[in-house]
Point group: C2
Chain length 487, copies 2
């Protein structure tokens, strides 16, 4: 087969160690028949002896429900489990989006007592509350959560409310302990006890202290809005909102709106405002990657529709080293550039400044290194090319604001290190260092792995990333709890 443009032979193998079972993936370059050359090797532990997930034939028998008529039934037990009245969770997961749900589901299968807290009022609100037209920008078969695939009847691009309702079903069906309407206010780590002391503000305003062994931050990239100080807006008398506060274009019908920022949010909000009958100008701050959502942006997921089972696709994805991955994404970016040539030319003629990522590695690496800077075109670029949505550069803002009623700052989010500082203080944030992006390493910094702070873990990213790496993160936490790894 071909990976990153290179012909190779690929083999998946299973192995066993003293501690558990794993899967591996080995690639050879063909060379001549007698001397194939090894190219890449992944080994990944997948389960610990005696601590396997209770799935399928290992599923719980459920005797306790069916025999003990006098005792609490399933619902009684679930209600007691989620109340945490007489115990603390071993793991506290902060944030209940795809990252939080994935890691909590994995930990639950490993019998690790886990609680998710999220400030939203209802499971799924992190998607439900976003703008009216939002759908996922990649295809359904890439986005399954662990254990519970989306039904085969679902549309290719999942609408936000459908996804949000699935999150509710998922939390219920996977028996996740989930506190909605709960603010995580941070806390301190007790080195002596090897436990956190953290504070939660419940929906009724009361506070609850918990002492979990582990805290997993699953707040994603959308923790703290990044609001730049833009001189031209200082005396703007109209409405200014960050993209995270934008809900609906309807109130802006017939009025004039400026959207600053040309990433996905900026484009989508501009399109929403335009569709609602507003006069819209999109303001570009820096060169941006534009790629048609379908088929161009789906090229990097080709593996997932080629036929191998999801688990194998995930292993293949995890097995590609950074250098090979960059090469693969360069090729995909080049391919997409050709497919989208007509649109890109039109945009350039309108003055849109394009880019294609560092060394032409495209949107995926922009996501992995800076969390954005690109737009999956679902129509807004066409509207710009047709002149239906105005385009301006940041220097023109002074003039533009004079006629504007609304400014939307689609200016992204602050890095997770800001959130760590806010929740746990300067010293701890310093110790942990930068989060996300590669730095000099081959893996995302502080993601899915042990950090410099005992008991502190991070998970974030796309549905696929959360599904794939939650498995390894859960296994590390379980290994800590089982005494196989130091805390």
């Amino acid at each position: 087969m071909t990976r990153a443009g290179t012909k190779c032979i690929e083999a998946i193998f299973r192995f066993e160690t003293a501690d558990g079972r794993g899967s591996g993936l080995l690639r050879f370059l063909p060379g001549d028949a007698e001397t194939p050359r090894a190219w890449t090797l992944l080994t990944a532990l997948e389960e610990l002896h005696g601590l396997e997930e209770q799935l399928g034939r290992r599923r719980p028998k459920g005797w306790s429900y069916s025999r003990d008529f006098a005792g609490p039934n399933w619902l009684d037990r679930r209600n007691a489990a989620v109340a945490y009245e007489d115990r603390d969770p071993e793991v506290l997961v902060v944030g209940g989006g795809q990252a939080g749900l994935s890691i909590a589901a994995r930990l639950a299968q490993l019998q690790v007592d886990t609680l998710i807290v999220d400030r939203a009022q209802r499971v799924g609100d992190n998607w439900r509350k976003r703008y009216h037209a939002l759908t996922l920008h990649n295809q359904v078969h890439v986005n399954h959560l662990p254990y519970m695939p989306f039904p085969p009847s679902w549309p290719v691009y999942i609408p936000k409310d459908k996804l949000a309702n699935w999150f509710e079903s998922y939390a219920e069906s996977m028996e996740l302990n989930y506190w909605t309407g709960t603010d995580f206010e941070g806390g301190v780590y007790d080195d002596q006890a090897q436990r956190w002391s953290v504070v939660m503000r419940r929906p009724d305003g009361t506070k609850r202290e918990l002492r979990p062994r582990h805290v997993v931050l699953a707040t994603g990239v959308s923790g703290i809005p990044s609001i730049p100080d833009i001189a031209a807006l200082r005396n703007f008398p109209g409405t200014i909102v960050h993209s995270s506060q934008y809900e609906d274009g309807e109130p802006w019908k017939g009025r004039s709106a400026i959207v600053i920022g040309t990433g996905n949010s900026g484009h989508d909000i501009a399109q929403d405002l335009y569709s609602s009958g507003a006069k819209v100008t999109l303001v570009q701050r820096s060169p941006t990657l534009i790629i048609n959502c379908d088929p161009s942006a789906q090229l990097v997921y080709a593996l997932y529709s080629e036929g191998p089972p999801l688990e194998d696709c995930d292993l293949i994805t995890a097995s590609i080293p950074l250098k090979v991955s960059r090469q693969a994404h360069k090729l995909a970016t080049e391919h997409a550039k050709n497919l989208d040539k007509e649109l890109l030319d039109k945009l350039e003629r309108k003055g849109f400044r394009l880019c294609f990522g560092e060394d032409g590695t495209g949107w995926q690496f922009m996501y992995l290194t800076r969390g954005g800077g690109y737009y999956f075109n679902v129509g807004c670029s066409d509207l710009i090319a047709e002149g239906k949505i105005g385009l301006a550069q940041l220097g023109e803002l002074d003039q533009l604001v004079k006629d504007a009623d609304l400014v939307v700052l689609a200016t992204g989010w602050k890095g997770q290190e800001h959130l760590v500082r806010k929740l746990f203080g300067e010293a701890l944030a310093e110790r942990v260092g930068p989060i996300w992006g590669f730095g000099d390493a081959q893996e995302l910094r502080n993601m899915f792995t042990r950090t410099a702070q005992p008991g502190l873990w991070f998970i974030a990213g796309s549905f696929a990333q959360c599904r794939i790496y939650s498995k390894y993160l859960a296994l590390q936490i379980k290994a800590c709890e089982a005494g196989l790894l130091p805390r």
Copy 2:
């Protein structure tokens, strides 16, 4: 392989006709090598050309959600679909348990506009509202609903509340139009228009007339309680309830209860009362089949845990003719009788009158012919054998009632023909005739197939039956709508 104790060669094949694609199953008896003898043959049409289910690679693209920012989004469309403000459904499904959900999901995939109505306040209440300790009495892998298998983490025996919540998730995830709190009050069929005119009472008390082409009765066997006139109870001053009204044993702690009827409900309620601290006597009306829930009652499902995919298991199940099926169940019943010998002997010593179904064909045929008459032992038989729950025969009731505070009538349900008469009148009920059971035919009467009343269909039974036969029922209705079959 061996089916019904007979060595045979089994082959699944696919075929195509002018109208669609199907699957078949052929069995040979080995004979000598040159002259194998054909034994059984099933052919089943599975999809119609051009009218295939939109699943997997055929799933809807979802463009309309992702491109049209101005238009209604997925949630807006769902809300409009379920409101039926400006249109009528093509198919009205009465009852939203496993039968109703299965047929509605199948029809939805075939693009047939379908509405479920159920009198319960919440999807799943038909299970949720039953007694505290209830779980399914057969195993999880036999009970999947169409398209959305239960997650692999679920217990072997699903507790009622977990199942009920899954029904809610299912209706949501499969986008079923479902009116809760709605009474179906019956109606008439208009031969001219080839439509029904039926009346629904909504939760707010208002009535809504609908004119669907088809009505599917999915009310199950629990439509109308069967309340026998028992002389000994005529002057009973205590509480008498039918098993359907029984919820919880707690109020009867320390008091004396009689349960009349030795089917599943009778035994389960007796066990629930005993566990709650009541003094309980179970009263037997007629000989009853007793079988341990695990493993004995699971023997007939062995196929489903042997490894073939669910779809193949369902095809194999559907392919077994009545005569062969009776033989298979005789063998399983004999096997179970041996496994359970110790328990059965103890029960007989207590005076329990046992039976093993017509010609020893066991509980499954009792279910198929009369809807009950057996108990899957999850502990109550042991309590009877140990004398912890009293046992009496009906003739002893006169004496017993003198000390009793509560009588529970676990006396089953009236046949669906009674419901048909109530909803649609005598003439229509006469035309349709008996429902369920085999009569002289090889298939269940009026089930999953055309009836003598155009536009009237029935579905009922276990999860497996509903899953398997909803497919063929939906296909028949679709074929009517497409003009391939007369109405």
